[in-house]
Symmetry: C2
Subunit: 185 residues, 2 copies
Amino acid sequence: MKYCSQCGKPVVIKIPELDNRERYVCEHCETIHYQNPRIVVGCLPVWETKVLLCKRAIEPRKDYWTLPAGFMENGETSLQGALRETWEEAKAKVEEESLYRLFDLPQINQVYMFYRARLSPKDFAPGEESLDVALFEEAEIPWQEIAFPVVAITLQDYFEDRRKGEFHTRISDFTYPYKKKEVEE
Amino acid sequence: MKYCSQCGKPVVIKIPELDNRERYVCEHCETIHYQNPRIVVGCLPVWETKVLLCKRAIEPRKDYWTLPAGFMENGETSLQGALRETWEEAKAKVEEESLYRLFDLPQINQVYMFYRARLSPKDFAPGEESLDVALFEEAEIPWQEIAFPVVAITLQDYFEDRRKGEFHTRISDFTYPYKKKEVEE
């Protein structure tokens, strides 16, 4: 951010009065420009014993497999966003949705929210951002070709919970082990 | 948003190529300015049979009681944000935190995340945004003076779950019944 989105004048970085962290501030019109984490919403669509994955047609991680997910939009609920992304990326509809797996990704200012859901009907096709969409048994999951760690963890948790016969909504942090700040420590 | 935060030129509202909704777009430097929901994180601090509430010192809902909560910041996890807000607003520390109650508020582009936690030690005091901080038994909750519906629902759910002896993480939508768009329908 270089310019104030309200008045077009250059912004400065400073700690506003009554605040305790640096913000982009416009000294001309006094607007404080807060920046906050974004939410990624998605689905884990299940058909009988199989899960649905999408092969990414775009960067990052083109050609790798992922769950249908994307940035939550203003004006929608997290579930509406998850269903929208499932339609856009996999041309699939689901039902019996249940909030399943959340992740904090503080290094990239994101929170992930995945809903577990039943694919219904058994129809799917690649959307514009997907090269392929397919159903996988647990033994068929291409673990070396999963696009993002949070997707791999969600799948692992799902198969583990399914064996136990119990699904819990839960959250955990994910921090990349190869982040510079951790290497330095 | 009136001006591009990257180059300072006026923005227009249009649907970018390969997109399906209106965005603020800079036709000079071609930056698309996405706007996304923000996350509010907070705690439900419990001491024995009592819950901790803060009396708001600021608008909106000045003089009403709330749970310590506020906007999640970049670079922190949702739990870190909830603990930070609990410290800032109630000068309180908690432990045994567990993600408890989430709300989608699509009308105001927010997602709430409340952690249930044990107050420890039993110390608290009003922070800068609070006039008072106090512990309440269920029978003492000032239901008519609760600042926000999501706080009232979280408290109701907590006491209900406590009677059942079972706490589940769950999400629901909250849409204001007095919203203009619903009145018109």
